[in-house]
């Protein structure tokens, strides 16, 4: 990627993927050499676990046990493809956003930690239940997400990348945001600053074409968010965010570029399968058929097909993986349900650092 022009090829690349999208639940082979079959089975297993947790959390909300949740269903290929590339690189730091459940969970949390998080119980890993689920910081897994204020993490990610550069380490920062986040002034400012100083940062846009109910056409007068990288003097491109392999490859290239040359804007065209959050009712603004169509591209399905095609798993093994996930989430749910609330006497602690 280092050789390609900021715009040129990548824009056509973007268009290409944009059209390739609508076909089937097939993933793009051949597999990249940098991925072993173990990698693929493992990431699929994590994807299934995240999906199972996601579905359970939604159900628990309806039972009144989870106050609020944002689902990553439909975004898993994008989140886990980029996570896999970051893991393999081993020198990345992540600033995800509130929809990145699959990413945050798969980055190293136990199912019980995740369920505690959504139930607001003691031991919640990001903030000990002071914040919305999985919001705050998970430093062991090199993740910070202070808030769910849209795009607030972008300038912070740029600052973190600046800090890494100043200290001379070779970290690459990945910041995640949605199509809605692209409208925020801070998004412009973060990219502009990153471009000026050639920061080691990747702006990952999970574009599902909706900001809650507002469709992309009411958010911007363009089709491709990645093309805005031209305004900041660095490359941008789009990939099929429903295709984990594409997302992995693109992120891997982007990491190399970011470390050697500077920022990349990476748009992943994804689909939101669920309403915006458990508080939302998407029937008010979104045609049911659109969601049905989208579900045909379910990344879990796509990955399963790929693994079976490639002879890495058979149907039975796929079922076993799903069964084990159900089992794990059942146990985690019970454990979280039984867990204590945080100690109320800590309410005044940590307003200031000691």
């Amino acid at each position: 990627m280092a050789q390609t022009k900021p715009r040129g090829t990548r824009q056509s690349g973007g268009k290409a993927t944009a059209t390739k999208r609508k076909e089937t639940a097939k993933a793009s082979g051949p597999l990249p050499g940098s991925l072993t079959s173990e990698d693929l089975v493992d990431i699929f297993t994590r994807m299934v676990l995240a999906r199972t947790a996601d579905e359970r959390i939604w159900a628990l909300n309806r039972q009144g046990k989870v106050p609020i949740a944002a689902s990553s269903q439909g975004h898993e290929a994008a989140q886990l493809g980029s996570l896999l590339a970051a893991e393999k690189d081993g020198r990345c730091f992540l600033f995800p956003y509130y929809r990145d459940l699959a990413l945050k969970m798969s980055a190293g949390l136990t199912p019980t930690q995740v369920m505690k998080s959504f139930m607001g119980k003691a031991g919640e890993p990001y903030s000990n239940a002071r914040q919305f689920p999985l919001q705050g910081a998970d430093l062991p897994n090199k993740i910070i997400q202070i808030s769910n204020v849209v795009s607030a993490g972008l300038t912070q990610g740029a600052g973190y990348a600046l800090g890494c550069k100043m200290l001379g380490d070779d970290t690459v920062v990945l910041v995640y945001f949605g199509d809605g986040g692209s409208s925020q002034g801070e998004t412009h400012e973060a990219m502009n600053f990153a471009g000026i100083h050639h920061l080691p940062i990747i702006f990952v846009c999970e574009n599902n074409r909706y900001a809650i109910s507002v469709p992309q056409s009411q958010q911007m007068a363009i089709d491709d968010i990645y093309s805005r990288s031209a305004s900041y003097g660095f490359p941008g491109f789009a990939v099929d965010g429903m295709d984990l392999i594409q997302c992995y490859e693109a992120t891997r290239e982007a990491i190399n570029h970011a470390r050697s040359e500077g920022p990349v804007l990476l748009e992943m065209k994804v689909e939101r399968f669920m309403p915006h959050t458990t508080d939302d009712d998407d029937r008010r603004y979104r045609p049911a058929e659109e969601v049905e169509e989208a579900r045909k591209l379910d990344p879990v399905l796509t990955m399963a097909n790929l693994l079976i095609e490639q002879g890495l798993l058979d149907q039975q093994e796929v079922e076993n993986i799903k069964a084990r996930a159900q089992q794990a989430i059942n146990e985690a749910t019970d454990a979280a349900d039984a867990a204590d609330l945080p100690d109320a006497s800590t309410i005044n602690d940590m307003v200031y650092a000691p």
Binding site: G120, A129, R130, F132, V149, Q184, I212, L341, V351
Partner: protein, 327 residues
């Protein structure tokens, strides 16, 4: 009289004002087909169309700046900030520009807009969906600030706000939206900005409050009345203009004052009420001016018990009243 909720009162007020004046329009995130995340604008797009019920991109600074510009042109925008926690990107336009427009043009340009802001906690919103932000606007000359507590007040005050030629920050407590129901007359009515409402008459001490906590204060006053403590409860309703007369009159009558609000205690609106009384009703005070307000932590955490630990509630108000009575 029909009994409705606060959110219905807000919706009715917006609809009536949009029908009355074609220059009134709504601009905000998800206000269109979605009807707003709290359904404050539900159905309006069907009646008034997408040009008067306009979905905005996710960019609060521009929502406010565009509302200002439209107001300069003579329209009467009602921008919505989806949650108070997201108001910060707007303050360059709201505190910096809107509040200074009439003064800074020596009256040539005014800003007839009402920014609606759902605020406050007790709804498991955690650190970024619970914030109280009233003090920042209360401390900004040039803005008017409205904080209704009941459906009747919400409707009457919102209609007045829309007709006011100044920038009005209209703060709707999220927990009151569906929790608080009340009678609202069928016909047209308005409530003037700047007039507090004595929601309970009493003689022993005065409570000054507004918004959600006002209801806890009324419950607490009821409880202690059994103990022979006779409490007057003043609902400020609008923070700016502040009805200092009603507050001072009540305190001069009772001699004791408890101020209750959900916002952080230090530097909150309650501090100004206390300062006002300590200056202008000093001779009448029979006891220390007390405040029962939100803790000085960023805002209420997500966990149920931590949220409860932060929030003023009826029981806490009762304790404070007993303490003040015992003085």
């Amino acid at each position: 009289m029909p009994v409705i909720t606060v959110i219905e009162a807000v919706r009715d007020a917006i609809r009536e004002e949009m029908r009355r004046d074609s220059k009134v329009f709504v601009l905000g995130e998800d206000v269109g087909k979605r009807g707003g995340v709290f359904l404050a604008t539900q159905g309006l797009i069907d009646e008034f169309g997408a040009s008067r019920v306009m979905d905005a991109p996710l960019a609060e600074a521009s929502i406010m700046g565009i509302a200002l510009g439209a107001a300069f042109r003579g329209l009467r925008p009602i921008p919505e900030v989806e949650f108070a926690d997201f108001v910060w990107p707007t303050v360059n336009q709201l505190i910096g520009e809107a509040a200074r427009t009439c003064y800074g043009t020596n009256g040539a340009v005014s800003v007839p807009l009402v920014v609606r802001i759902p605020y406050g906690g007790g709804i498991r919103g955690g650190l970024f969906h619970s914030q109280n932000v009233e003090t920042h606007f209360f401390h900004t000359p040039g803005l008017k600030v409205v904080t209704p507590s009941t459906p009747y007040d919400a409707k009457g005050l919102l209609k007045s706000a829309v007709r006011d030629d100044n920038p009005v920050v209209f703060l709707e407590h999220k927990k009151t939206y569906r929790l608080v129901r009340g009678e609202v007359p069928e016909g047209e009515y308005t409530i003037p900005l700047g007039v507090a409402d004595v929601k309970r008459l009493g003689s022993d001490m005065t409570i000054v409050s507004y918004g959600l906590t006002l209801h806890y204060c009324l419950e607490a006053a009821e409880q202690v009345s059994g103990e022979g403590i006779n409490v007057e409860v003043v609902d400020l309703r609008t923070l700016t203009p502040l009805d200092t007369e009603t507050v001072l009159e009540s305190v001069k009558k009772t001699g004791k004052l408890l101020i209750v609000h959900e916002d952080n205690v230090t530097g909150g609106v309650g501090a100004e009420i206390a300062a006002l009384v300590a200056d202008q009703a000093f001779e009448y005070l029979d006891g220390p001016v007390s405040r029962l307000c939100g803790l000085d932590v960023p805002t209420m955490p997500f966990a149920l018990n931590l949220e409860e630990a932060y929030m003023p509630d009826t029981e806490k108000v009762v304790q404070a009243l007993r303490k003040l009575a015992a003085y």
